[in-house]
């Protein structure tokens, strides 16, 4: 319950204060969000599977975001920025989808 409140509080804080994102960080934000969503869906599924572990979640969350940003950065440096980002989005998208499907099975038994 408290973690859920924390998530909602985080969203509320972000919406209220609208922290400015420095320009150099802006290209990394969308992909970092996708990575964060992946971590969140994974956490929910793990919770439902009964194998949730907070340390794993936090570390995977932070690492996911950082790696995603790193991938975008590398892609930019190599001149394949958008393609590499697309790859990351596809992979994370598939993971989000299958995790969401697992959550759905847990929630509705269907």
């Amino acid at each position: 319950m408290i973690p859920a409140i924390a998530l909602v509080l985080g969203v509320a804080l972000g919406l209220v204060f609208q922290p400015g994102v420095p320009l150099w960080l802006q290209p990394y934000l969308p992909i970092a969000v996708v990575a964060a969503l992946d971590a969140l869906f994974g956490a929910v599924r793990a919770q439902l599977d009964g194998i949730f572990d907070d340390k794993v979640f936090v570390i995977s969350f932070v690492a996911n975001v950082l790696v995603a940003a790193l991938v975008v950065f590398l892609g930019d440096q190599l001149g394949v920025g958008s393609q590499l980002s697309t790859g990351v989005v596809v992979v994370l998208g598939i993971r989000i989808f299958s995790n969401a499907a697992a959550i759905r099975r847990h929630a509705f038994h269907a």
């Binding site: 804080l13 972000g14 934000l29 969308p30 971590a39 194998i51 993971r95």
Partner: protein, 307 residues
């Protein structure tokens, strides 16, 4: 024997699909399972049923804080990204609105300067009247000046007259993409009031005997131009927005009859029927036209400040 090729095919397919399979099968971070396995193996198989029992112990205070902090950051990230995307997506719209704000600010500046000009001109007129009132020839001259000023928009006037309102047709707005492709002969242009239309109406009103005319609150002087820039109509270089209110002062019945019978008015009634533009003529008892922009100084210069 028979199954061997099939097996190989399955294996081949599995190999080629392994990336996708891996993705869907290992969608969950393997770290979760590993942690559980480690805990189970560390506690020994005998303790496994006790896994449920130590459930409360799984969230010690400090680690729960970690979780809360992580989720807080996650939510913050989501909201920030959403706000960012929303603020960045309509960048062109932002540029547009900032330009529009710029235009509005400049228009306000012009208005302020305009009213200052009107004030100063009133002072000049008062000073001139005082100076001319001293002599007989001066008084005659003052009357002449007043008549001329009335004619060229130098004084605000009020009186009976006509209010002619022109409005664009309320057709569905044309596709902006199509509009950029074909800048001329738009289907949407058929129902749009153009500068020429306003000019025609104004000319017909002059011809009908109007004594003073203002368009959209801009007094027409002998030097006022009605022009178009893009799709906006400019009167005296100030943009107007529809509907366009043309106010003409003059003897009501004569003005109304003559203008109503003019070819221009008949043409506009046809337009109104055909294209659905707005075209109304109203006779009103008390109308006002503001003072017009004075003629710019061409040769005269303010004197250098005395040393």
């Amino acid at each position: 024997m028979t199954s061997a090729p099939g097996d190989r095919a399955t294996a081949g397919r599995n190999r080629s699909m392994s990336l996708l399979d891996e993705l869907t099968v290992n969608a969950l971070d393997p770290g979760y399972q590993q942690t559980v396995d480690r805990r189970v193996s560390g506690a020994g198989t005998a303790d496994q049923p006790g896994g449920r029992r130590d459930h409360p112990r799984r969230y010690p205070r400090r680690r729960r804080g970690l979780l809360v902090a992580g989720l807080l950051v996650a939510g913050l990230l989501l909201a920030t990204a959403a706000a960012q995307a929303r603020s960045r997506a309509p960048a062109s719209a932002q540029v547009r609105s900032s330009l529009a704000a710029d235009v509005a600010a400049r228009t306000r500046d012009t208005d302020a300067l305009q009213s200052q000009v009107a004030q100063l001109r009133a002072q000049v007129a008062a000073a001139r009247a005082r100076g001319l009132a001293a002599t007989r020839s001066g008084t005659a001259m003052a009357e002449q000046v007043a008549a001329l000023e009335e004619a060229n928009g130098g004084t605000p006037l009020r009186g009976p007259g006509l209010r002619v309102t022109l409005a664009d047709a309320t057709l569905p707005t044309p596709d902006p993409l199509a509009a950029t492709k074909r800048p001329s002969a738009l289907p949407g242009d058929a129902g749009r009031i153009a500068d020429r239309d306003v000019q025609d109406v104004v000319n017909a009103l002059w011809a009908a005997g109007a004594e003073a005319i203002s368009v959209g609150g801009q007094r027409l002087t002998p030097q006022t131009a009605i022009r178009a820039a893009g799709q906006a109509i400019l009167v005296d270089f100030r943009p107007l927005s529809p509907p366009y209110d043309v106010i003409a002062l003059g003897e009501q019945s004569q003005l109304g009859n003559r203008f109503g019978d003019s070819p221009t008015a008949r043409r506009f009634r046809t337009y109104a029927a055909t294209y659905g533009i707005g075209f109304t003529i109203r006779s009103e008892r008390a109308l006002t036209v503001p003072v017009g922009a004075g003629p710019p100084l061409r040769a005269a210069r303010p004197p250098a400040p005395a040393p």
